[in-house]
């Protein structure tokens, strides 16, 4: 028996390289990109719709990449808000990857976009291991998922710098205390930022826009 040793190259090196290429391309074209992750029904699409409108009111042009296993429902919603949008169907894949995003970027008018929101497939866990090349990552959870969300996925939240707790208007109805989510999150990620929103009724959107720096209208990079 003999061993063949490897020189410590990451298995996902190809993905990391592509993510780096996306990052550089976005930076060169002065586009700030945010990866939006979260479970099905957490409210990712509604939040992005609100951010498109908020961005436009600050004179910023927002682009989107809408990823779902099938269909173009989210993409159609973004187009209705006048965002430059690309629809991506991942079919049986449970997450986006940098390669798919690279092709989506080819279809977007990057010179006419200031901010890009990439909505990942509705799935909390799988996208976490696949960097896309965005500057920021945010995870959206809704109170309807239960106030033990952080306790059930501590390793994800330990690495997530921005968490949006959405649908807080429903907290009482589902017997959930959003502050418990916030305090659990602070335990596993003392430097993270947790915001509470009710995207449907446009509450907390100003705070989120500020946390993202979306209201800044000068040169962004």
């Amino acid at each position: 028996m003999h061993d063949v040793r490897f020189q410590g190259e990451d298995i996902l090196a190809r993905q990391l390289e592509l993510a780096d290429r996306n990052f550089k391309q976005l930076k060169e074209r002065s586009v700030r990109a945010v990866s939006v992750m979260g479970a099905i029904g957490s409210g990712k699409t509604t939040l992005i719709e609100r951010l498109i409108v908020r961005g436009a009111s600050s004179g910023l042009r927002v682009g989107t990449i809408a990823a779902d296993s099938a269909g173009d429902d989210d993409h159609v919603r973004f187009l209705a808000r006048n965002a430059a949008s690309v629809n991506v169907n991942t079919q049986d894949d449970c997450h986006l990857d940098a390669h798919t995003v690279q092709h989506a970027l080819e279809e977007l008018p990057l010179d006419d976009i200031d901010w890009l929101f990439i909505e990942n497939v509705g799935n909390l866990i799988c996208p976490a291991d696949f960097p896309l090349g965005t500057e920021l990552e945010m995870v959206v959870i809704s109170v309807t998922e239960g106030d033990d969300m952080v306790r059930k996925h501590p390793k994800i939240f330990a690495q997530t710098d921005l968490v949006v707790i959405n649908k807080v208007d429903l907290a009482n109805a589902v017997g959930v205390d959003p502050n418990r989510i916030v305090s659990d999150y602070a335990k596993v990620n003392p430097h993270g930022v947790a915001l509470q929103t009710d995207a449907l009724h446009e509450r907390g959107i100003d705070e989120l826009a500020r946390a993202l720096g979306l209201e800044c209208t000068n040169t962004l990079w």
Binding site: M1, H2, D3, V4, R5, F6, G8, E9, D10, I11, L12, A13, R14, Q15, D93, C94, H95, D97, I125, C126, A128, D129, F130, R151, P154, K155, I156, A158, Q159, K187, V188, N189, P190, H191
Partner: protein, 128 residues
């Protein structure tokens, strides 16, 4: 279940590297950073499925965990982090913060996923 995507990348990357190394592949030794959201059990199961019909069929996948190391952005600390343990979680979580000054940190280790080595059984071993 993104372990299948990860293992597909692993097998695709590994097969060309093993060309020119004669013999039966006995084991693949993987190093996994403890920040990775990957289940060992799912990786092993996925490896069995994805390796089927390739030279890696029948090889075992051995996984070793790489602990988190950070460098503090505020003080000079570089090393491991504290682990948040809550008995009810049944899970230890590395806290990405400086254990000395509670400052923000840069991750130096803990997100890797790499092949350390591959053990190959050759004809010479059979004779021995």
């Amino acid at each position: 279940m993104h372990e299948y995507s990860v293992v597909t990348e692993l097998v695709d990357a590994l097969l060309p590297r093993l060309e020119g190394h004669e013999g039966e592949i006995a084991a693949v030794f993987l190093k996994k950073g403890s920040l990775r959201i990957l289940s060992d059990r799912a990786l092993v199961n996925a490896f069995e499925v994805v390796a089927h019909g390739t030279r890696l069929e029948g090889a075992t996948l051995e996984i070793e965990e790489i602990p988190v190391r950070v460098a503090c952005r505020s003080c000079t600390y570089e090393g491991p982090v504290e682990v948040y343990e809550d008995e009810s979680l049944h899970f230890a979580v590395p806290v990405l913060s400086c254990p000395k000054c509670q400052g923000e940190v840069e991750i130096r280790a803990g997100r890797e996923l790499m092949v350390d080595r591959v053990s190959i059984r050759s004809a010479a071993d059979e004779g021995a």
